[in-house]
Symmetry: C2
Subunit: 331 residues, 2 copies
């Protein structure tokens, strides 16, 4: 009898310890950089709904796919897309090998530091600059170029490394979703091979969960060694109506949650929310000129116009950075 | 004292149970359908080398990527690729909607049951038949068509469902690799959307880990409902030199193990084994005319010629089905 009683006491103590741990876990706020309010509530309510076994909204872990735009959703995109700044820096770095560039647009303007003039040539000029800086290397060489550039490049306004201009509330959201069995993907208009070299370290998103725009590559044996050579030919543009196409191509099933910040994300949010069962769509509205940037309907970068109307009409969650985010960047 | 002794006894019993479970797990053969011998040994030795913490060949779980061809590697491909038989059946099913087909090649020959004549038109005829049967639907409609077909279609020789003509030794190998922290992918010349509807159930490989050939798709709003429409235009051919390209596009890192059975897999095996650290490449040689099919250098389906020479030269593992596989199909 005495033994039994001691054993029961032991079980009771263990139960108490367990209860303490569980309560502690429940009490800890998984999203401390988000102010309390209906935005944060909508996120937590969705996650609880799809993860509660037996609930009508329950989604099996394998189908918990969440897709995130990158520029303006996970990291800053002002005053210019980071990849565009990479292009300009690469043109300067490659100039010694291109004696023709100082007299050839759009390269001449970039070398003179006049980005506006360089971009005046429109899509054709942009494509020329992208190909001159993104093609011609092997995939491994390009990965190293991106890593080397990110290690030293600094944001023109904040003078911070770009990989530190990621949004702390979104880092928490990625972690929170993964802790709840979600598989998190990037679905960006940016270059897939521009994001992969650092997405795992910065966002915890492995290369196989990065979807983006791409140029074609060709398999070659160079002195018997296999390489993939990057070609001057567009393979896929992962923007606007391209985003659902890229999602189907890479993932092969419809996400249940999508996060974006611009009209480029509209079709991704439409595609995600049109599936059956519980769905979640969120748009980040950049409203904080003091701590970040404020821009929307008339911005040339990250224009948010049609998608904002669609969000209001459909009842999607809209983040008001100024009011919803306690902090912007990691400490 | 008595209580303490009882508790110690309890701990001892628990330790024994645990030891028993662990020993049992170690003793259980993870590859029972493989005969003992150097082929099986080479697989186990590789897995042990890359999973042993502290060993010079150790590979972190995130980098344990294994890629598998499908036709002839995971399931039977004789007397004809399963997807080709799907094409012929679909032509028959769609004939009522195409009054022109009975007098139009290659469709006329298919409807007469003369597959050889239908294929006499070469690549152009094949492409015409693929587009007539794979395009024009939404992605969701196509998925349902594939599922419905597989539920009733039977292999022309064995009269078995195709999803039961998968190789038991390879199913065990997939499970064994996943139990050791590997992420298993299909990298097939077959259609990506032809494989995804059943690969998870049959192989335990989710849609996002299936890579294959594809046609283009277009995002559309139909009565306000977003759909992806399958178009009559090739997007990507995931065969031969296309396989490393498809791997880079989808996975973004080099696999450490690759499994194939034909010349279509040669570049995938070259690409995989050219990486640094421990690497594994395996070719299945179909040598068993009694239990399956015997074919290699002169076969029009699953031709194994250059890749077999490369395997011998490089010391890759070559499976001799007749001698290495105890059973072919699941019971």
């Amino acid at each position: 009898m005495k033994t039994l009683r001691i054993q029961i006491s032991l079980v009771a103590i263990l139960a108490c310890v367990l209860a303490f741990i569980v309560t502690g876990a429940l009490a800890a706020d998984p999203l401390p950089a988000w102010n309390d309010g209906k935005t944060k509530q909508s996120i937590v309510a969705f996650v609880e709904k799809v993860t509660q076994p037996g609930s009508p909204g329950f989604v099996p872990p394998a189908e918990r796919i969440a897709v995130f735009d990158n520029d303006g959703t996970l990291w800053a995109e002002q005053p210019m897309y980071v990849q565009a700044l990479f292009v300009f820096d690469r043109i300067k770095a490659l100039a010694p090998q291109h004696p023709e560039w100082p007299t050839q647009e759009p390269f001449a303007s970039v070398l003179k530091g006049d980005v506006k003039a360089a971009l005046a040539g429109g899509e054709k000029a942009l494509l020329e600059m992208v190909m001159a800086t993104h093609a011609g290397t092997t995939t491994e060489e390009f990965e190293q170029i991106v890593k080397d550039w990110l290690a030293t490049a600094r944001h023109p306004v904040t003078k911070q490394p770009y990989t530190e201009m990621v949004y702390q509330p979104m880092l928490e959201l990625l972690t929170y979703l993964r802790a709840n069995g979600f598989k998190t993907y990037i679905v960006s208009g940016g270059g897939i091979e521009f994001m992969r070299p650092w997405a795992e370290q910065v966002y915890g998103i492995p290369p196989e969960q990065v979807i983006g725009s791409s140029i074609k590559t060709r398999f070659e044996l160079r002195d018997g060694k296999p390489v993939l050579v990057r070609l001057s030919e567009i393979n896929f543009i992962d923007d606007k109506a391209g985003k659902p196409v890229g999602i189907q191509q890479h993932i092969g099933r419809r996400p249940i949650a999508a996060f974006g910040n611009s009209d480029g994300d509209l079709q991704m949010l439409q595609w995600t929310t049109a599936g059956s069962g519980a769905r979640f769509a969120l748009l980040i509205h950049h409203t904080d000129a003091a701590r970040e940037w404020a821009y929307d309907r008339s911005s040339s970068i990250g224009k948010l116009d049609l998608a904002l109307d669609a969000a209001h009409a459909a009842g999607w969650t809209v983040v008001d950075i100024k009011n919803d985010w306690k902090t912007i960047y990691p400490d």
